[in-house]
């Protein structure tokens, strides 16, 4: 099971590494930094959705972003999409759940992340 998944996993990790190289922290902070307008929300949701990034990388990254002035609600969207939705990991997910269900799960999670961000913005 593990060895059968390995080529797909390596492919996915390779793509994630390339994406992460193309979008450095400063760029992220710059795009998400403009208050909490629509554009920063869209950036957070978009970048967050591309890859599945594990907590021990995601949280320090979010700490940096908060320190550069990104709003907490935007961070909530970013972190939720980072962990729950991964369009690059879809090939792996589809092996277990099928393409249709995987895409639906990711889209619902994306909507959920936005809802979570909105609610967080209301409290923080």
């Amino acid at each position: 099971m593990f060895l059968r998944l390995l080529p797909t996993l390596i492919l996915m990790l390779a793509l994630v590494s390339i994406v992460l190289y193309l979008i450095p922290e400063e760029k992220l902070a710059q795009y998400m930094g403009e208050g909490s307008g629509i554009s920063s929300w869209a950036t957070a949701a978009l970048f967050g959705s591309v890859a599945l990034i594990p907590g021990f990388i995601a949280y320090p990254l979010c700490g940096i972003l908060i320190n550069s002035g990104v709003a907490y609600s935007v961070i909530a969207v970013f972190i939720t999409t980072l962990m729950m939705t991964g369009f690059l990991t879809l090939p792996v997910e589809a092996k277990f759940f099928g393409w249709k269900v995987s895409v639906i799960r990711n889209l619902i999670s994306l909507a959920a992340a936005l809802l979570i961000g909105l609610t967080m913005g209301f409290f923080l």
Partner: protein
């Protein structure tokens, strides 16, 4: 041939990274460093996940899964599945095989998706990290808001997949 095809991209990628190091190509080296970071995580967590899956498969009988987190398990089942997910660690793709074994042993569709939600969004080992970098208030709020939302997603997926012969495959 088809079997060989899926190895081509990973191989080309690894060769390119290797060449980057050989010729001091900075872009390739940085991508290689990122890759190494993710690869380490995978190599650390996935085998653990598969051991867990193996033990789970052997030790936990189907009747028990059906009874506690199956179709008629109710809120107790939801709580149990969340507890199970939050105590585990690792990337979400590590949860897919575990979700498969849960489903095969009779866990309900709803609880499979609640498991995935809890696994990705709320993890006890990660909570310390979150509090450290984003503060206690943020973590508590995020956890409390996220919890009902992915339980709702579980119900939504169950409702959507109810009559659709949905299967988790290996």
């Amino acid at each position: 041939m088809k079997k060989f095809q899926k190895y081509i991209f990973p191989l080309v990628f690894l060769i390119l990274i290797g060449l980057s190091y050989l010729f001091d190509f900075a872009t390739g080296e940085k991508i290689g460093l990122n890759f190494w970071m993710f690869f380490k995580e995978m190599i650390l967590f996935l085998p653990l996940m598969f051991i867990l899956i193996g033990l789970f498969d052997v030790w936990v009988p189907r009747e028990r899964i059906e009874k506690h987190i199956g179709l008629e398990s109710g809120w107790k089942g939801t709580g149990l599945v969340i507890l199970l997910a939050t105590l585990q660690a690792g990337p979400l793709y590590g949860a897919f095989p575990f979700a498969y074994i849960l489903w095969r042993k009779g866990c309900s569709i709803r609880n499979v998706f609640i498991y995935l939600g809890a696994f990705s969004a709320i993890k006890v080992p990660m909570l310390a990290f979150e509090i450290g970098f984003l503060g206690l208030k943020f973590s508590i709020l995020r956890t409390l808001i996220t919890l009902p939302i992915f339980i709702f997603i579980g119900y939504l997926m169950e409702w959507y997949l109810k009559d659709k012969d949905f299967e988790v495959t290996q």
